[in-house]
Symmetry: C2
């Protein structure tokens, strides 16, 4: 089998999610994932550090996107608007991968260790956003609050995107959930 | 040594926090904690399941307090006001234990495994609050958003309480941080 395999990353990811759903995350081996994808274990390890990494790959790009989008917001934009823009951009990258995201979420929900890893991921995204806001001159408590509230909003939007059949526009759901945060925070 | 030791719980907790700060959490044994407190290991295990439990004890009472306070809020109170009341009540129980809370936070910040445990604890407090709101008839996305945003507010208030010398009234800091959430969410 050659070193180069067309779309090996995507094939491995799809095979892994299928197996995690069918057998459970714990019960699936890297050998089985590679076999289902028609690839070797060696190829798997060229793409992912381990089988957990299949579920959490791409987080470096996500951090960079959030940081870049907050930094690029016009100067007169409020902190929460900058956070909203960043999380809409993050939502846009998931775009048409709702089915894949649903499978991934089902796997994570079924496993306490993966749920912890997901919480850590979200907390670290909040830190990145808060840091990017402080770089814009936003004072610390405001930056932390806008970032943490933004992640709370994203979680709600993401859950709606996964569960509501007729709502497949994640960036729009993010925007609407920010509107809802405003309504909730002001008690209307 | 008798079975009854006056304030064994408090003595063990103080000894444990001292040792975790001096030597690190990982490097401290239950035997050392008991010795420093002038008690036996057996007494330690009557009060705590393990050395991590010293840092996370009392969370059952905390969940119950949040649930009770949300449930007891008058019917015309908005979801975010009910959440604020619950988290002010939680803040009041920490009351005069700022020094103990500072030590605890320093130990947690120094250890990745404990930071994860703390994130899980906060996520589970948010679930309890959201659940109590739904029991009041608040629809799901609003309940989740109010609860998650409330926990974000509490984190900010708690950090200010620990770090700002002249601010020792945690319930008041919680109230002020809810005001700040309103300002942040409306972009003022």
């Amino acid at each position: 089998m050659g070193r180069w395999e067309p779309n090996a990353h995507g094939r491995l990811e799809r095979a892994a999610l299928e197996l995690y759903c069918e057998r459970g995350f714990e019960q699936t081996t890297v050998a089985e994932i590679a076999k289902r994808a028609g690839l070797t274990e060696r190829t798997f390890f060229r793409h992912f550090a381990d089988k957990r990494e299949v579920l959490f790959a791409g987080s470096g790009e996500l951090h960079a996107l959030l940081e870049r989008t907050v930094a690029a917001a016009p100067g007169d934009v409020t902190p929460i608007e900058a956070v909203s823009a960043a999380l809409e951009a993050a939502g846009a990258t998931l775009g048409d991968r709702r089915e894949r995201s649903r499978r991934r979420q089902a796997v994570i929900d079924a496993n306490p260790e993966l749920r912890e890893r997901e919480l850590i991921k979200l907390a670290s995204l909040a830190s990145t956003i808060a840091c990017a806001l402080r770089a814009r001159g936003v004072p610390r408590p405001t930056a932390t609050l806008a970032a943490e509230a933004g992640i709370a909003v994203f979680k709600v939007a993401f859950e709606r995107w996964l569960t509501e059949v007729d709502r497949d526009d994640l960036p729009r759901l993010v925007r609407e959930s920010f509107d809802e945060l405003r309504a909730v925070a002001t008690g209307r």
